[in-house]
């Protein structure tokens, strides 16, 4: 590992300093589970890869990783082995269908779902050495606001919040944004509305959330919170098909409505947060 961003051994204490979000790391998170975080991560990664970016998806849902299920991968070496020192990071990075790389957590990561200093340091070291190798690192985090999720999100330069239009999902997304603003002083969160039933409803939802945030959370005019609508993914039977077949939608039916929407998400990201590939 010659291109480690943060030297691990000699500089260990500095890792515990307040964390500065790393460039090009996007956290895909949600308030509630089961809204399609992993689906979005995998397919967005494929869409970005198709546009020429070098993309890695990091399974940061340490306790409950299921990126392997979505991608139908059966990794022999996982992040767990890297954490326990049984394997090198390079050996745990796998090529995924769709032309991107993945780093899977593995089921053994359960024991790391408690955020200890060791886990933090190791996680930091791993992220630090991934960043220089890829144009974009997508972190598929767990849902909600557990320590591990908040920590993973704190490392990202951008937060992509996935929510569905259901009231429970929106309430939890709102509650999570509140915590991110309160604890991490985030000022920008990008919202992806999954399973949208009407064109334009995602923007309406974003405006609605923004109004409530303005009124209850961003009460200091010096620190406004910006909720940006990144895009909608419409309800589409192809999504379910792809999930049931354990195939990557962007690879098999990229032209279905949901596929086009995800391609659009990738283009929007390119316009706003990630530079065009060289």
């Amino acid at each position: 590992m010659n291109d480690v961003l943060i030297p691990a051994a000699e500089n260990k204490n500095s890792l515990r300093l307040p964390l500065k979000p790393l460039g090009k790391v996007l956290a895909v998170t949600s308030g509630k589970g089961g809204v399609g975080k992993t689906f979005v991560s995998a397919n967005l990664a494929a869409a970005l890869a198709r546009r020429g970016h070098r993309v890695l998806v990091l399974d940061a849902d340490l306790g409950l990783a299921n990126l392997d299920v979505v991608l139908n991968l059966h990794p022999k070496i996982t992040l767990h082995d890297v954490f326990t020192g049984k394997a090198r990071l390079e050996d745990a990075i796998l090529p995924a269908p769709g032309g991107f790389s993945v780093l899977l957590a593995g089921s053994g990561m359960v024991e790391y779902s408690r955020l200890t200093t060791e886990v933090r340091d190791e996680f930091l070291r791993i992220i630090g050495s991934l960043v220089p190798r890829y144009d974009v690192v997508l972190m598929d985090t767990g849902a909600g606001i557990s320590d591990v999720v908040l920590f993973a999100v704190s490392l990202a330069s951008e937060v992509l919040m996935v929510a569905t239009p259901e009231p429970t999902s929106l309430t939890d997304a709102y509650a999570t944004i509140k915590v991110l603003v309160g604890q991490q002083l985030r000022q920008t969160v990008r919202l992806i509305v999954n399973q949208s039933t009407r064109p334009g409803s995602g923007q309406a939802i974003t405006n609605q959330l923004q109004q409530v945030l303005d009124r209850f959370v961003a009460t200091d005019p010096g620190h406004p919170i910006q909720l940006l609508h990144l895009g909608d993914i419409p309800v589409d039977p192809e999504v379910r098909q792809a999930i049931m077949r354990r195939q990557l939608m962007m690879q098999h039916t990229p032209d279905c409505p949901a596929g086009k929407a995800i391609a659009q998400l990738a283009r929007t990201l390119e316009k706003t947060v990630i530079p065009k590939p060289a």
Binding site: G63, R114, P167, L170, A175
Partner: protein, 270 residues
Amino acid sequence: MILTLQYQFITFAVARIPDSSPFSLHSLKLDDACALLQHDAQNIEQEADEPDAAYLQRLIDGLCELSLKDPLTGLNNRRHFCSVLERSIDIVARSGESVLLLLLDIDRFKSINDSHGHLAGDQVLREIARCLARCLRPMDTIARYGGEEFAIILPNCQPVFGLAVAERIRKTVAAHTIPVSPLLSLQVTISIGGAYAPEWVRSTTDLWIERADKQLYRAKSRGRDQVCLDQPRELSVSAEEKGLLFGHLLMDEAGTRENAPSDAPKWENA
């Protein structure tokens, strides 16, 4: 059919040559097991027509049951409790179901033992156990966790109901009169601490118990006979905020109806 015949032959052989065969019941030295089961008022005699294997199975089943039970109260013991808690964590992590763990402790139990004797103390434990068990649904798990401490796992218990459920249990126990001798009845109170497993997140049983235990300590230090529940970090969304959050849903619905005939319904946020 052949298997059955073989099986009958073996049991026949065992019965005929008790001491020379390694399968003989006698050489298995079942006395201790039988004594344990007998103590639990279980029938340990082999029925006249009962095959040895069936008899052994019955003894093993009895021992398994015993190993999960608290002998004094008849409730589940700590071992069983821990395995249920472990399973609950898996369920919560995967399904997001709300599972509440309550730890209950009898207030000033030592003074009951000291002033009325240990038999009275045992009677109080048994009565409270019965009283607690009556408060619960069949899907709940109750166990004697330690000396005068009980634990209850309540699956599918919504956070909004948690406090009400725990309060109901506390009040039921407080209202219960326990006869410890023909002349003496006692009334005891309990303190309850509770915590929900974090939803969608895989926790550990230790962490979960620790959080409930902290709340039990809080209930005790606040003066006993009360309930304290761990407040989850999230869900600090007020009714007012919620009201505003869902404004769009109503408008969305209205918009759908109004624009129903149009091909591409477009709706701008007001």
